[in-house]
């Protein structure tokens, strides 16, 4: 059942939130051992919260638009008292004493968080294989990865454990797993959703967003968590956009550019999917054209300097002093080194070192400084494209879900799987991945719609058109 259907039935009293939650917990128990989706299940408190939702309904109060909807939370979102590990040993056992704004808003909308989903360590990865708690498997084919870094959230929805989950997207970490698991995933405009309580990977790129089985569920979830938050200085002013109200607005008269650089190098099935989605959009009244934005080719290199640079600083605080893991040392520096060496996995160490190097004296201008200028160039290129297009269309990922272990030992190959999603993070713009078509092995593919800042209303309307035109949903 989809989230909005559940909420409608819970609000009408037709179903109890407790029974919905019990079902979700049963579904998790059935497949979590096989798939390793949830690193922590919050059964008791979920049932208590569901009972509170039922009590509100019984008392005639409206529990909110996500009343009784079980949700999964990526394990980098803080919820008071609930373990939050970011897929890292260094945070094992850490229970934050506060709750992220996005989670608070989900709770205020009546949703029922049922646990924390597995992720690449500190969101650094594209396959959910770098987690210290073992890889997550793709529910559609357990020999394949679910994508990453929000692979646990994607697998939780794809396995039918929850209808909606929150993820975070720094370079494609919502959209790419959504594509690989046959889901809808939204990377909102930077600042639309508060980052307060999201454990930082790369602060100028991170955004929280939903993964869901339908555009409507994703839109409703985003609407619930978006809007200004005074606790995040980079939060955009104003309330959440009216996404549900725009779902059936269609694309008639919209100018949509198919971006060559967001398709090139992809598998033939992916290229075909993008072409198919373009036909659907054209049939619905949009004007399609091919565009080229060569500057996007610079995105990957810029991203792999900027994101590690910010991460190297954001991850300094994992030092064994205040929280999480400590490995003893005879003096403070030995303790720092012992703790961080034991607590971080190889991918995190690689990126910390890459970022430290890019910021260090003598290399700053050549690497980090130059990447910031490239970012300017890319943003300007996007803006030129948006002067003649309302939305852009491309692939989400270059291929369908790949096999576990296929890329984990080759960092550069792994990094290339984010090549189509990274530019939007650098520009701060919005994008959505919608399932469309299937790959050589019959696994789902995703197409990506991109829009300028705060274009979420337009994006969900267009995504709904693609969704309606894709034939049989899911795989």
């Amino acid at each position: 059942m989809n989230a909005l259907e559940i909420a409608a039935r819970v609000r009408s009293g037709e179903r109890s939130a407790v029974s919905v939650t019990e079902e979700a917990l049963t579904a998790i128990a059935a497949r979590n051992g096989e798939l390793n989706v949830f690193v922590h299940v919050e059964g008791e408190s979920a049932l208590e919260r569901a009972a509170a939702v039922d009590a509100a309904v019984a008392a005639g109060r409206d529990p909110g638009i996500l009343a009784g909807v079980p949700v999964g939370l990526k394990d980098n979102l803080c919820q008071t008292g609930v373990p939050t590990t970011c897929g890292s040993r260094i945070l094992s056992g850490w229970r934050p004493p506060y709750t992220a704004t996005a989670v608070e808003r989900l709770l205020a909308a009546g949703a029922v968080p049922v646990g924390k989903t597995n992720m690449d360590e500190f969101a650094m990865g594209s396959s959910t294989e770098t987690s210290a708690y073992g890889p997550t498997r793709n529910p559609l084919n357990p020999t394949r990865v679910p994508g990453g870094s929000s692979g646990g959230s994607a697998a939780a929805v794809a396995a039918g454990m929850v209808p909606v989950a929150l993820g975070s997207d720094t370079g494609g970490s919502i959209r790419q797993p959504a594509a690989l698991c046959g889901l809808v995933g939204i990377k909102p405009t930077y600042g639309l959703v508060s980052r307060y309580g999201l454990v930082a990977f790369a602060s100028s790129l991170d955004q929280i967003g939903p993964l869901a089985r339908s555009v409507a569920d994703a839109a409703a979830s985003l609407e619930a968590i978006a809007g200004h938050d005074p606790r995040d200085s980079t939060s955009l002013p104003g309330p959440a956009p009216a996404l549900i109200a725009h779902l059936d607005q269609g694309v008639a008269g919209r100018r949509i550019g198919i971006v060559r650089e967001l398709v090139e190098g992809a598998d033939p099935e992916v290229v075909a999917a993008v072409a198919g989605a373009a036909e659907v959009l054209a049939a619905a009244g949009a004007t399609l054209s091919e565009v080229s934005i060569p500057e996007l080719r610079l995105g990957l290199s810029a991203y792999y300097l900027i994101a590690p640079a910010e991460a190297s600083s954001n991850l300094a605080r994992y030092d064994g002093v205040r929280f999480g893991l400590r490995v003893a040392g005879s003096d403070i520096t030995e303790m720092y080194v012992a703790t961080r060496t034991a607590g971080f996995g190889a991918e995190v160490k690689r990126r910390i070192m890459l970022g430290t190097y890019a910021l260090s004296a003598g290399y700053y201008d050549a690497y980090y400084g130059q990447a910031l200028k490239v970012r300017t160039v890319m943003i300007e290129a996007f803006e030129r494209a948006y002067a003649s297009a309302d939305l852009l269309l491309g692939a989400t990922a270059p291929s369908e879900a790949f096999a576990l272990g296929a890329k984990v030992s080759d960092p550069m190959a792994m990094y290339l799987s984010d090549v189509f999603t990274i530019p939007t993070n650098l520009s701060g713009h919005a994008a959505i991945s919608v399932p469309f078509g299937s790959g050589a092995s019959g696994l789902p593919l995703g197409v990506q719609l991109l829009g300028p800042a705060r274009s979420e209303e337009r994006l969900v309307a267009a995504a709904a058109v693609v969704e309606a035109g894709r034939g049989v949903p899911g795989a």
């Binding site: 803080c78 945070l91 934050p96 454990v199 930082a200 605080r317 994992y318 929280f323 403070i332």
Partner: protein, 465 residues
């Protein structure tokens, strides 16, 4: 000798720089902390508007260019620093340039005065209690995130005395702007001195940075010691190493803390969790217009009240430092000598607790009565002390304490009694032994328990002689 100073001042805000925890000294350890100032994963900073205003006030008072600025992260590992980076300002500080005029007539250039956050505090346990031989340290983050402004001077000072004058003047300005309480001993004002020596006209020598200067006296002594040390080293054929040195107040010496072998690599980069800080021109104008005269002008104005009489500099400093200008002016308006008003204000009101409950008009009333002879100096001080403690009306206090002058008949009667009780002394006095007048004043004072006015007693004695 060449001296440049870096002064850190904590700002007098209610809350911390980037979170809503209280900015207060002396609370139980780790009770004024939140996810932000503990650097917990997922927390984010939000800038305190008042800290910006106080930084603008400091910049304006120092004649700096106040303008658009950005925050950077300064990355280094240290347990006092919860995020293992400090949010500071780097290439675009809020205040750039400016100067400070010292009371010796010299001018010291200001490089910058930028905003940054304070660190927590460690207590070292085991060993001798110093950091290096401690067995372990305990960290308290109450101070972490307290707003600071760091004021960096040009290397324009040439003597320990100038260094002292600079900090004294800067301290007065910080207090006058309301930015700081200026308490060096509590650490809300901290000074690091960069000292080098050279032959006149030669390029700057290698400098050493001296830390742990907790008072103006320490600063002056440490700079003098350090310059002397460097000169002796060079004269003996040695070379000054660039290093950080620790001032030990007890031994009166500086010693090596840390040698800068390789330049620190702080990997500064823009703080992505904060936006640009572009102070609103209207806010800058409002602060500039509200600043009022700075200490140097106020000292000059007070000194001019004395119409040529010499007023010690420390008296003016004390009065201006405690913001008592209005008290002195009120007293002078009642025809009290400015020198008396200034010294009474400096000595009786500018102490640790400040003027307390006393109002300028009450202060003026007490001094006017003293000038008119109806209160003795001792009585005037006693009345002021009571006003400082609890306020109230001067007339009421004078009456209650029995300081009201005696009427002429009572005084005359008391003098007659004193003469009758001491016939020998009276005879000697009448025979011309003048110094016995004081003897009789004492007797009368004792009898009246201080209520009699000494001048009136003398007049009465003279009239009977």
């Amino acid at each position: 000798m060449v001296v440049g100073l870096e002064v850190h001042t904590e700002l007098l805000t209610a809350s911390k720089m980037f979170c809503s925890c209280a900015n207060a000294f002396g609370a139980e350890p780790n009770t004024q902390v939140c996810p932000v100032c503990l650097g917990l994963p997922g927390s984010l900073p939000v800038l305190n508007a008042r800290a910006v205003e106080l930084a603008v006030a400091i910049g304006t008072a120092l004649h700096s260019r106040v303008g658009a600025s950005t925050f950077h992260r300064k990355n280094y590992f240290y347990p006092d620093m919860p995020k293992d980076f400090q949010i500071s300002q780097y290439d675009r500080p809020i205040n750039e340039g400016g100067y400070l005029d010292l009371s010796d007539g010299s001018r010291v250039g200001i490089v910058r005065a930028h905003l940054e956050e304070d660190t927590g505090k460690s207590t070292h346990l085991g060993g001798t209690g110093r950091m290096h031989d401690a067995e372990r340290s305990l960290v308290d983050y109450n101070r972490a995130g307290v707003p600071l402004v760091e004021i960096v001077s040009e290397p324009d000072m040439r003597s320990p005395e100038q260094a002292r004058l600079y900090v004294a003047e800067l301290r007065a300005i910080l207090i006058a702007t309301g930015a700081s309480d200026g308490r060096m001993e509590e650490g809300s004002l901290r000074v690091d001195a960069n000292v080098s020596v050279r032959l006149p006209g030669a390029p700057l020598g290698t400098r050493c940075e001296i830390k742990n200067l907790n008072s103006l006296r320490s600063l002056q002594r440490a700079v003098a010691y350090e310059a002397e040390r460097q000169i002796e080293l060079i004269l003996a054929g040695g070379q000054v190493r660039q290093e950080t040195r620790h001032w030990d107040e007890g031994s009166g010496e500086t010693s090596t803390m840390r040698v800068k072998e390789e330049a620190e690599d702080y990997r500064y980069f823009r703080e992505p969790d904060l936006t640009d800080l572009v102070p609103d021109p209207a806010m800058i104008a409002r602060i500039r217009d509200g600043l009022g005269p700075m200490p140097a002008q106020r000292r000059a104005a007070l000194a001019s009240l004395a119409r040529g009489a010499v007023v010690p500099g420390d008296v003016l400093d004390a009065v201006v430092g405690a913001g008592l200008d209005g008290f002195v002016e009120a007293a002078v308006a009642r025809d009290v000598e400015a020198t008396v008003a200034l010294s009474r204000a400096a000595n009786e009101l500018a102490g640790l607790d400040g003027p307390g409950q006393v109002r300028p008009d009450a202060f003026a009333e007490v001094l006017a009565r003293e000038a008119a002879g109806t209160l003795s100096a001792t009585q005037a001080k006693a009345v002021l002390a009571e006003l400082v403690r609890g306020g109230g009306e001067v007339a009421e206090i004078v009456e209650r304490r029995g300081f009201a002058p005696m009427n002429a008949d009572d005084l005359s009667g008391t003098v007659s009694q004193a003469v009758a009780e001491h016939p020998d002394e009276w005879a000697r006095y009448r025979a011309g032994e003048d110094k016995l007048a004081q003897f009789f004043v004492g007797v009368v004072m004792k009898a009246t328990r201080g209520r009699a006015n000494g001048q009136q007693v003398l007049a009465e004695l003279e009239s009977r002689r």
